[in-house]
Amino acid sequence: MLLKLDNISFKYPNAETHVFEGLSHHIDEPGFHALFGPSGVGKTSFAKILCNEIKAFTGQIHTEDIETILYSYNLERLPGWSNVGDHIAKITPPSHVEKSEVLVECFGIEKCLNRRFAELSLGQQNRVNLLRYLLQDFNVLIMDESLANVDELTREKIILKVKEMFPDIIFLYISHNIVEVSKFCRQILVFRSIPKNPQTLLVKGQDLAMGQTLTKKDHELTMLEIMNAS
């Protein structure tokens, strides 16, 4: 399994400066990989390059054993003509129905199923949206602030459960929560504003899994490392 970016450069058509210049990175194992960095540094653009929504970049993307890259973000909406439960039922392949039930419970959205998407709170909307992506077949899922409006307790619960249920998937987790990324991610790709060189630094995270306990000291060290990197 390999996701490799080689010497990527990109500039928005009407912008003066580049978002990336000669950025390279590679991921070769499943798990949670954070994309971290100050707002406006290019995390979303990076994600869009990966999932082919942005095409006007230079450089190569190379993949091995990866068929489907999905990209979810926190502003998505569900269509309004059916309630959330029906929508989920509709987009769930038969083989994933069981998974769906487990996830609904863990995400705490049972009460949302018979309501329409527009009738949910922001955090509920976030969860419902992420859930439907998890019910697809994929190798890589980019979560662009997908849980940004969910409370921390629920978020932790979700991350742990997802890590347990999808051990073979590469998750690219975009979040501004340093506590969280250092705690749950295997590695953290820290983006730095463009004059800084290199443009990215890689930090090893605590990669906490369900049932494990965190050493406070190590966690704080990771956080410090991330902070120094950015």
Binding site: Y73, E76, R77, G80, W81, I91
Partner: protein
């Protein structure tokens, strides 16, 4: 809603009529140019029942034409929305046909379809489908990114779904256009009857025009306006029900 539409129509009609009477009496015009109230009333008693049924006839054709043209417009709009060659071709075709005044096309239509019900329906539909088409084209060409993204990236997007999403997100606009174009269906049917039929209020108007009988025309206009207000009121009410069914209540009303 219906009720309001009706009395607003009555106000408008009365205003128009008063305006005509005003002109009549200021310029001292004869009943031939603008009929007086007595004249109008006499004509009304004479023809209203016949005209009433004529208008009913016309309304029935108009409703069928309206439905036909809504389907037609949605169909053409869906095909024409695509940025492909075929899409733009269909669009160009639809636009061009529209540019030709019906009077010029009528001979060709009659050659092709005879002068029966079908020709009338076609003419009615042709006149009323265009506004719907334009709206459908505008709506269908514009992606609803935040909803469509999921379907697109997971490879689930089908054209039917795309249409459903865009139509649903723009339901209010579609309802406005469809309900509004009822007026055109009515006008279209009348024009069709005017140039083709032997029945309906358009036919009666044509005879009245030949006889320069403005009283009859005014009565016909009254009945047309009235029946249209009812039809449109009902359409808007259904639209309102549909909207209500789908709308998300915000807790904004006490």
């Amino acid at each position: 809603m219906l009720h309001r539409r009706l009395y607003q129509f009555l106000i408008i009609y009365s205003l128009g009529l008063s305006g005509l009477f005003l002109i009549k009496y200021t310029l001292n015009l004869s009943n031939y140019v603008i009929p007086g109230p007595a004249n109008l009333w006499a004509t009304c008693r004479e023809v209203w029942l016949r005209y009433f049924f004529d208008t009913g006839d016309t309304l029935a054709v108009a409703i069928i034409g309206h439905i036909t043209s809504t389907c037609l417009a949605i169909f053409v709009g869906i095909v024409g929305r695509q940025a492909t060659w075929v899409g733009s071709f269909v669009k160009v075709a639809a636009y061009n046909v529209q540019a030709y005044p019906i009077v010029a096309l009528a001979p060709i239509i009659f050659i092709l379809l005879g002068d029966g019900f079908i020709s009338r329906l076609l003419i009615a539909a042709m006149i009323c489908y265009f506004p719907i088409l334009l709206s459908v084209l505008g709506i269908m060409a514009e992606p609803v990114v935040d909803i469509e993204h999921f379907y697109r990236i997971t490879g689930r997007m089908r054209w039917q779904l795309e249409i459903k999403i865009r139509a649903f997100e723009n339901m209010n606009k579609l309802i406005t256009v469809i309900a509004g174009s009822a007026t055109l269906a009515m006008a279209g049917t009348i024009v069709a009857e005017f140039i083709a039929a032997n029945a309906g209020i358009g036919y009666s108007i044509r005879i009245a025009l030949y006889q320069s009988d403005l009283s009859k025309i005014l009565i016909a206009l009254f009945l047309i306006g009235l029946s249209l207000s009812v039809y449109q009121g009902l359409l808007e009410f259904s639209g309102y029900l549909a909207k209500k069914k789908w709308e998300v209540p915000k807790g904004g009303i006490v």
